[in-house]
Amino acid sequence: MNNLSMALKNLKKNFSFYALYLLSVSFVITVFFAFTSFSMNTVMLEKISGNGRVEMMCNVISVFLMAFVVFYMSYSNRFFLRRRTKELGVYALLGYRKTTVLSLLTTENLLVCFGAFIVGILLGIFFHKSIVFGITKLLDLSINNSKIPFFNVNAIAKTACFIFAIVIVLMLSNSRFLFKTSLMGLVRFEKSAERKMKFHAVPSIVGFCCIILGYVLALDILRGDKSVWFSIGYTPIAMLTLVLVVVGTILFISSFLPFVVHISKNNKRKFYTETKIITSPNFIYRMRSNSKTLIMLTLLSAATLTVSSVMALSLYYPIAAVSRMAPSEIECRIENESEIDAIKQIVNEHSSKNDVSFLQTNIYKVTSTSEQVPLEYSAGSSKGDSDNEKILRNAGFECISYSNYMALLEAQGKKGALEQIGGLHDSECILVKYQPASDNAETGNVYPLLIGNEEISVTVIATTLDNPISFANSIGTLIVSDDLYDAIAEEISPETEVLSINGQSIKDNEALFLDLSEYLNDSPYLQGNSHRIHEIFSLSSSTFLLLGFLVILFFIATGSILYFNNLSAISDSKADYEILRKIGYTDRTVKKIIKKQTISFLVFRFYSGW
């Protein structure tokens, strides 16, 4: 019987076992092939990457991906090898040379990898097509699908070469094991306890401190500009946090775990129970490899969580900020009155419904003689910022009326904000903040406003982050009473006139925005809420996509390692469960033991990973 037929027979005999392996490897290859196809998809990359940023991210992620695939396959291979050690010993006893045994193992790996390659390519093609379809729809891209090949030959070749390289790596790892293990070692292979691990107080305390410090550093970012992330820099602190968490986890688990186990074993009353007497020694017996797996899974869980959070936050914050950057569905500056009719006509061309509101706001700039004015008063008024110098702003408060403010909030659907606002006297005002400030420093401040030749003092009774007008059109907005507003209007002419357009029927209407932009000659004062969200999606889609790949990757890694680890532990203990049954354990108790072993591992990983 030659190697090929032996390998085929073995695969057939253990089909259910190998099917799981084949399935998981196929899944990994699917992700790899889809990613490779995407990174080689020039049609897509041209559309979503202008400066090579996506290509660079693809390269970085492909390193992660390749490292993971190699690691995962080695892990699974070692698992299978351990399970078959005795069988390999019998081959050697029958007169098979170690090189023949090695070529048998390599043939098996080749067959599994070939199967996974075929399945992975077929599924990967559909996965890649789905990604392209999703991005095209999401970003509203015009892509000629016929230009994207169904079979990307380069991606297939790269995947094939990579799989071949993995088979070589597995062969080297198997040969190391086979040639290092004596014939006696193979034949009489039996479970033996791993070297004992001792509790080391100093490293475990250091590890614990490192983890706590890592958390403190991570949370320090919440202090904003006072945090070390701001004063020292993002990259060094991010690296330091990463190192602290990784080193801390390794030290803590490897030094503290024996202590936990020791304590749990020393509690004799709890130890001498029908399940604990089996589960605790089982864990101790494989403590070294259990602790390694725990470290790896803990770090993988942390990585999964981090990447998922980064992905969620990088989407959440910009979208949340849009309600401040562009509070109205569409907003523009009016340079002359005739523009209003033209704009209304363009809007009517895009919306047949009567739910569109047009609110015109005249903004009056008023200076103050106060020495302590808020930051917003003079924001954008100094030289030195090359981008803003062309549209340099005069310092001052930009006043709008109370009733106008309320009408705008209502049109923008900010019901929560409306409910919080009380009435306003002539001597009172509400200051719209540009940045959130927790200390409410401006509340109670009195600002003398210079209106004509008269000076009228107003007291800030509240500050708000619900700016009714975009920051492109107004900063340092002060909401004053209607009477005071009228008084200001009598004395000075408005600084700017802003038209805010809101309504359900004009939401997500990119064509309307483009028409208005064209009419207003690409005015920088034209702002759109839906347009801004669309812009964020367009600019960040590639980042989300690549982060999405990483999240999927980490999920597969964590899930499959956990799965194989459990499968390995249970199949290793199968004979033990038979013995337990003979001693008098019921099936229910045996299941309880298996459940406890699995759950304790999962729970530890969950708590340490978050």
Binding site: K191, A193, R286, D576, I579, L580
Partner: protein, 249 residues
């Protein structure tokens, strides 16, 4: 002595049309007896042990141990019955590799939910009797075959079972280790009054018993009693019977 085990017309057929592995076997075991079951390979010794110990079920016939008819036991009932009444020693030891010897011996007692202090005391005392007290904190793979088998015997006896089943307990041991084990089993039988049913093909091992049941083709064909004979004489009697059995083949 009161009857502990009653086997009545026990038959076991594995497949239709095949010769029965056990053919209407009937015998009784009294409390504190040490019985050896002998016979050639395939004579039905191990099948008998399996059906008596609830690991397998007979095709027909009845088995009553301690007043309990095994036929009436459910799966859970069988497990509980094994836990409370039976002890096992197997040729392959069947120790749990990931548990130390102390933990291995403790397992049956934890099943009986005994207090931990009592468990530790019982384990220590039995380990001393079996000569493995210094090995208690070692793992099975750190022990010799003889020590492993003694640990296995200690685990079987520690819960003071109504009856101890031993299937070729000396099969994998060298002669010194085998003698040590058999002496220990004999001691347990004499001093702790443990009832033992041992399957063996070895005349020397069988000579430690008080009664021998010789099997052939699924039936008991002869019964030997030690009575007042010394072990050496009994051994010679058994050896002659075994030789006779070989010539009758």
């Amino acid at each position: 002595m009161a009857t502990l085990l009653e086997a009545n017309e026990v038959t076991k057929i594995y497949a239709k049309g095949q010769r029965p592995s056990l053919n209407k076997v009937s015998f009784n075991v009294a409390e504190s007896e040490f019985i050896a079951i002998m016979g050639a390979s395939g004579s039905g010794k191990t099948t008998l042990l399996n059906v008596l110990s609830t690991i397998d079920t007979p095709t027909s016939g009845s088995i009553v141990i301690n007043g309990v008819n095994l036929k009436q036991l459910s799966d859970t009932g069988s497990a509980d019955f094994r836990r409370d009444n039976l002890g096992f020693i197997f040729q392959e030891y069947f120790l749990l590799d990931s548990l130390t010897i102390r933990e291995n011996i403790s397992v049956p007692l934890t099943l009986q939910k005994l207090p931990h202090k009592k468990i530790e005391k019982m384990v220590r005392s039995l380990a001393e009797r079996f000569g493995i007290a210094s090995q208690l904190d070692k793992y099975p793979n750190e022990l010799s075959g003889g020590q492993r088998q003694r640990a296995s015997a200690a685990r079987a006896i520690v819960k003071q079972p109504s009856i101890l089943f031993a299937d070729e307990p000396t099969g994998a041991l060298d002669s010194n280790s085998a003698t040590e084990l058999l002496k220990t089993l004999k001691e347990a039988n004499d001093e702790l009054h443990t009832t033992i049913l041992m399957v063996t093909h070895d005349a020397y091992a069988a000579s430690f018993a008080n009664r021998i049941l010789i099997f052939k083709d699924g039936s008991i064909i002869r019964e030997l009693l030690k009575q007042d004979a010394d072990r050496r004489t009994f051994y010679e009697t058994i050896a002659q019977e075994v030789a006779k059995l070989d010539t009758e083949r």
